[in-house]
């Protein structure tokens, strides 16, 4: 069989599969797990975008209460979780710690006023830019969130939510 016919056959098989399930699908099933379940969100402090007021309580616990996390990014995440009927489990940390955690499947989403020039593209996928701001040097920053690599159904769902939120704002 020639290379050409193998390719056509492969394509036909793939298209034949399209009967089953959502398209695009998540290799690790993130969207299905989160829907009606728990959305694990890593929050990295960053000005107006993610803020956690110091409570003076037990700071050794990385998990923070839902009501503690504030900021524009946090509000968007709450709205997204509500749309999916999911509870939010917050984890505070530095970008480094959270990106590693996301890469190894410990988190579903990382926020922190990140922009599309984020260096974490080897660890995570990026959403579409949902907001813009100017930094202190007058440079335009396009804000994104980090999602697990290759979880495309989850990413598309989030992108749709973020775009709709951007339109209505």
């Amino acid at each position: 069989m020639s290379r050409g016919s193998i390719l056509v056959l492969l394509l036909a098989t793939l298209l034949g599969l399209s009967g089953c399930g959502a398209y695009p699908a998540d290799p690790e099933g993130t969207l299905d797990r989160v829907r009606g379940g728990t959305l694990r969100v890593g929050a990295s402090l960053n000005g107006d975008w993610v803020a956690v007021p110091t409570s003076g309580g037990d700071t050794s616990d990385r998990n923070v209460r839902d009501s503690d996390v504030q900021g524009k990014d946090a509000e968007l995440v709450r709205g997204f979780a509500e749309q999916l009927g999911a509870d939010v489990e917050w984890v505070a940390g530095t970008e480094q710690v959270l990106a590693e955690e996301l890469k190894h499947g410990g988190l579903d989403l990382v926020i922190g006023g990140l922009d599309d020039k984020t260096p974490w593209t080897t660890h995570a996928g990026l959403t579409r830019p949902y907001a813009e701001s100017k930094d202190d040097r007058g440079k335009l920053r396009k804000h994104v969130m980090l999602v697990p690599l290759g979880e495309n159904a989850f990413l598309l769902e989030l992108d749709r939510y973020l775009m709709a939120a951007k339109e209505s704002s």
Binding site: R3, G4, L10, L15, A25, P27, V147, L149, L155
Partner: protein
């Protein structure tokens, strides 16, 4: 198209005046190569816009960019070979075609190898390709659909262009044009592979993308190696082959037959090198009775050979007592090897 002067001004390859058929073929080839470049510019832009994180799409895009090399080489060479031979370049500028061919072939090989390694590493590291949404006309759709759409749109035209160029490559005896046509003809497979890769991502089969990228980069690498071989051996003065490098060019046999059957010769053998479009021929002839042929006999034989085919123009006939096997190796007298 601007390189073609008015039709009354006959096109020459060096000092060779092209027959009408080849002149027409050259004009068509130049026009088709310009069309190819226009098409590639559109394709490469479209593919770049929807590139995303797919390795297969990246491989297809780089192949599009590399596809510029053969047409550019052809168009540049088609200008340079028109220069007549000069004191510094007594053999003319025909080799520029061969140089262009080597440059294009090496670029293909290097990029093919690079993409192959990159795709294999991606597969080993199991980096799941991430493709999200894109906002179009107020709705957010999966970017993968756009990728597949673009690849399907751009699959067919190169095949048509490739077939047209293939015919012209034969008429012009142009190996760069042949290599270009050959690549174009196989281009639809790249498109189908990229579509399959992206469709696979959609089904949650993250490895489909890398597999498709591996197939595409293997085909680029294969094109590169084959072309490098062909181009280098042509520059190494390999015996003249047909335009597709499949068999020795029949012209050699034809010339030898003619020279052998002249009434003043008993044997003849030629060595021919392919300068790009035209052949340089050195024919050794053994005169009958070991007598020295007259200048008129030699001139007449040479004129007859040049008249046989437009590719023969630079020809020397050397009368010898016996065929020098160190210059014309292989079986003599009608032997085919």
């Amino acid at each position: 198209m601007t390189n073609v002067k008015s039709s009354s001004d006959a096109i020459r390859f060096g000092h060779t005046k092209l027959p009408a058929e080849q002149q027409k073929a050259l004009r068509q080839a130049i026009r088709i190569e310009w069309i190819t470049m226009g098409f590639l510019a559109v394709t490469a832009t479209l593919v770049f816009l929807v590139l995303g994180n797919s390795q297969a799409m990246k491989a297809a895009w780089i192949e599009d960019l590399l596809s510029f090399l053969p047409p550019v080489s052809f168009l540049v060479a088609a200008r340079i070979i028109r220069k007549p031979p000069s004191e510094d370049h007594p053999y003319g500028y025909h080799r520029s075609t061969g140089v262009a061919h080597v440059v294009a072939a090496v670029a293909l090989t290097v990029m093919g190898g690079y993409l192959l390694v990159e795709s294999a590493l991606g597969l080993l590291k199991a980096e799941h390709p991430t493709i999200g949404g894109i906002s179009l006309f107020g709705t957010t759709i999966w970017l993968g659909w756009l990728m597949m759409g673009v690849m399907i749109l751009t699959a067919a035209p190169p095949v048509v262009l490739g077939r047209m160029k293939m015919k012209l490559a034969e008429q012009l005896h142009d190996k760069v044009l042949y290599a270009d046509a050959d690549m174009n003809k196989a281009d639809w497979m790249t498109a189908v592979a990229a579509v399959a890769g992206v469709a696979g991502i959609g089904f949650g089969l993250w490895w489909a993308d890398y597999t498709a990228a591996l197939i595409i980069s293997t085909s680029i690498l294969r094109d590169g190696i084959r072309n490098t071989k062909g181009a280098v051996s042509a520059l190494m003065d390999k015996r003249a082959m047909t335009y597709d490098d499949r068999e020795p060019h029949p012209l050699g046999e034809k010339l030898d037959d003619y020279l052998r059957n002249l009434d003043w010769t008993v044997d003849a053998k030629s060595r021919i090198r392919d300068e790009g479009h035209v052949f340089h021929v050195e024919s050794f002839v053994v005169p009958a009775g070991s007598s020295v042929p007259t200048l008129a006999q030699l001139e007449a034989a040479r004129d007859a050979c040049v008249a046989m085919d437009w590719k023969v123009q630079d020809m020397v006939i050397v009368p010898v007592a016996e065929l020098p096997s160190e210059f014309v190796p292989g079986p003599t007298s009608g032997g085919e090897r």
